[in-house]
């Protein structure tokens, strides 16, 4: 029942996203356009469909990555944008932009570099990766990357700084098939792998001792899952910029919908819907301003999170 409701919500939102824009399409026109195929209908097949796929994939990837971090670090506040990976990616992207390169390569490089730094710092000889260390070093890495970013932007010229700021808000403007393909190629294997490992996450959430007592090889799994989740997050940020709040909010939303435990498919779904909705808002609410979707993810995500938390407090679950 719940799955059916969510599926209908998905269809409606996707349809609406394809229909919305400067030229609104009627349901019939949308259907005809989709049926006509890529050769006939450039608006749907060339512009809106890749953008919608991009939004769904990036959202799902960010949501999944956030949920994995939250459960690995046993901290509902953990997510790639809190532990520094997003900031590293942002720094890399802007550095690359200002140097005349591509934001995407820079973002990916920066994100992975930040992750390697956090990883190296929080590795202990006895216990492998230690979650609390990782959160603290991650926050410190994030602050360092943000400081570097601010230096870059202050020193850049007005035009370049404007370009950097636009990227930094996170947006799906102008994303086409190549972007969608990159996002999807990354999301599919890592997403499937992480979801398959959700039983391991289940146990890790019970604490290190219990996880190991229940037969989990923590020294192997934790680094592996952290690397996969960070890789995924850095890739998604590289495609669409740091869409605020998606990775952070998708996990708690999914937990609110699910039965306790990580609920990774739920987090991916929540992230995908959040980004799709934000991009829809970006195109519909102020079409001429071309405001980035990242603004709306924050505007939509924050109240939703407040609602989920409030409801859980009133149910005595928090």
């Amino acid at each position: 029942m719940r799955a059916a409701v969510l599926f209908v919500a998905f269809l409606v939102l996707t349809g609406l996203s394809l229909a919305a824009g400067r030229n609104w399409l009627t349901p019939i026109a949308l259907w005809q356009g989709l049926a006509a195929g890529p050769a006939e209908d450039f608006l749907i097949w060339g512009l809106r469909l890749p953008r919608v796929i991009c939004a769904l994939t990036v959202g799902a990837g960010l949501g999944l990555s956030g949920a994995v971090f939250q459960s690995l670090l046993r901290n509902p506040l953990a997510s790639p944008d809190v532990i520094g990976i997003t900031q590293g990616a942002a720094f890399g992207a802007v550095a690359s932009l200002l140097a005349g390169g591509a934001a995407m390569a820079g973002a990916w490089g920066g994100g992975l570099l930040a992750m390697c730094m956090i990883f190296g710092l929080s590795l202990t000889r006895q216990q492998g990766i230690e979650p609390r260390r990782m959160v603290l070093y991650g926050i410190a890495t994030g602050i360092t990357a943000s400081a570097g970013l601010n230096i870059l932007i202050t020193r850049a010229g007005d035009a370049a700084a404007g370009q950097a700021m636009a990227w930094l808000a996170g947006s799906l403007n102008g994303r086409g098939w190549p972007d969608a393909a990159i996002a999807f190629a990354l999301f599919l294997p890592i997403g499937v792998g992480l979801t398959a490992a959700s039983r391991v996450l289940d146990r890790i959430e019970l604490g290190d001792d219990l996880a190991r007592a229940l037969g989990t090889r923590l020294a192997l799994w934790r680094p592996l899952l952290i690397l996969a989740a960070a890789f995924l997050a850095a890739g998604m940020v590289a495609v669409a910029g740091p869409l605020a709040f998606v990775a952070f909010a998708a996990g708690p939303i999914a937990r609110g919908l699910g039965r306790g435990g990580p609920n990774l498919p739920g987090a991916a779904f929540a992230g995908a819907m959040l980004v799709l909705l934000a991009d829809l808002a970006a195109r519909v609410l102020a079409p001429s301003a071309l405001l980035p979707a990242g603004l709306y993810t924050a505007v939509l995500g924050a109240p939703w999170l407040i609602w989920v938390v409030t409801r859980r407090i009133s149910h005595g679950q928090l």
Partner: protein, 256 residues
């Protein structure tokens, strides 16, 4: 002898905690570990569970070295309930208990009929069968501890280790949990080793007691042979009188 510990040396963070401890704990019985704070009781329990690297010596369970068991196999032999186990947010009781089945699940397969039955049995064994759908956080302290014990039961291991299972519980619930721990041995035939703070509860609910001080064994054996003025003086530096519990015929420690 089922749990056999020989010349065990364990360090934590560079500090030597267990300093050449040897101890045998018989199978099918309830053994209690007692001693002052920081004497190494919890470290010993975690070492038996295979959770700590050993600096020296060996621990074997049913004639097999714990350190040599594979992770999955060890999880089907030894269960441990750590002292401050915390359920993830929003988790329901039945889902928590189901986590105990994980060493028995086949990868990428859902829980089988037998697994779900085992979860139901474990819930019924601790008297929580009607609370499976409640969030763990909504349970009372005593019920929550029962839920954790149900998880350990669902894990279905012959050896069960409990680290201070009665902390933070009021008196009736302490008795309740200790009775449950005894039933693990009497009804389910398990070997139970638990860390306890209360000497009188240890005397009443354990078949055997091992007394520790500063990482070494002070005394070991039946409660009435271990709980003497001399060992208690040695362990805690405290004088006391030993009475006899008139109903259970176990020693009763009365501090001076």
């Amino acid at each position: 002898m089922s749990v056999s510990i020989e010349n065990l040396k364990v360090s934590l963070g560079g500090r030597s905690i267990l300093k050449g401890l040897s101890l045998d704990l018989p199978g099918g019985e309830v053994s209690g570990l007692i001693g002052p704070n920081g004497c190494g009781k919890t470290t010993l329990l975690r070492s038996i569970a295979g959770l700590l690297p050993l600096q020296g010596g060996s621990i074997s369970w049913r004639h097999r070295q714990v350190a040599q068991m594979k992770a999955g196999e060890r999880a089907r032999q030894i269960a441990i309930l750590p002292q401050s186990a915390q359920a993830p947010e929003g988790m329901k009781v039945a889902d928590l208990v189901a986590r105990g089945r994980s060493p028995h699940l086949r990868p990428f397969r859902p829980m089988s009929r037998a697994d779900r039955d085992a979860v139901q049995r474990a819930l019924a064994d601790v008297g929580l069968e009607h609370l499976g759908d409640r969030p763990v956080a909504a349970l009372s302290g005593g019920q929550r501890q029962r839920a954790w014990i149900a998880m350990v039961l669902a894990q279905d291991t012959p050896l069960v280790l409990l680290d201070e299972p009665t902390t933070f519980l009021d008196l009736p619930h302490q008795v309740d949990i200790l009775r449950l721990a005894r039933r693990l041995s009497t009804e389910h035939g398990k070997t139970v080793v638990m860390v306890l703070h209360d000497l009188n509860f240890a005397a009443r609910f354990c078949d055997r007691i091992a007394a520790l001080k500063e990482g070494q064994l002070v005394a070991e054996g039946a409660p009435e042979t271990v709980l003497t003025q001399q060992t208690i003086g040695q362990m805690f530096g405290m004088t006391c009188r030993i009475l006899s519990d008139p109903r259970h015929n176990t020693p009763f420690v009365l501090p001076d």
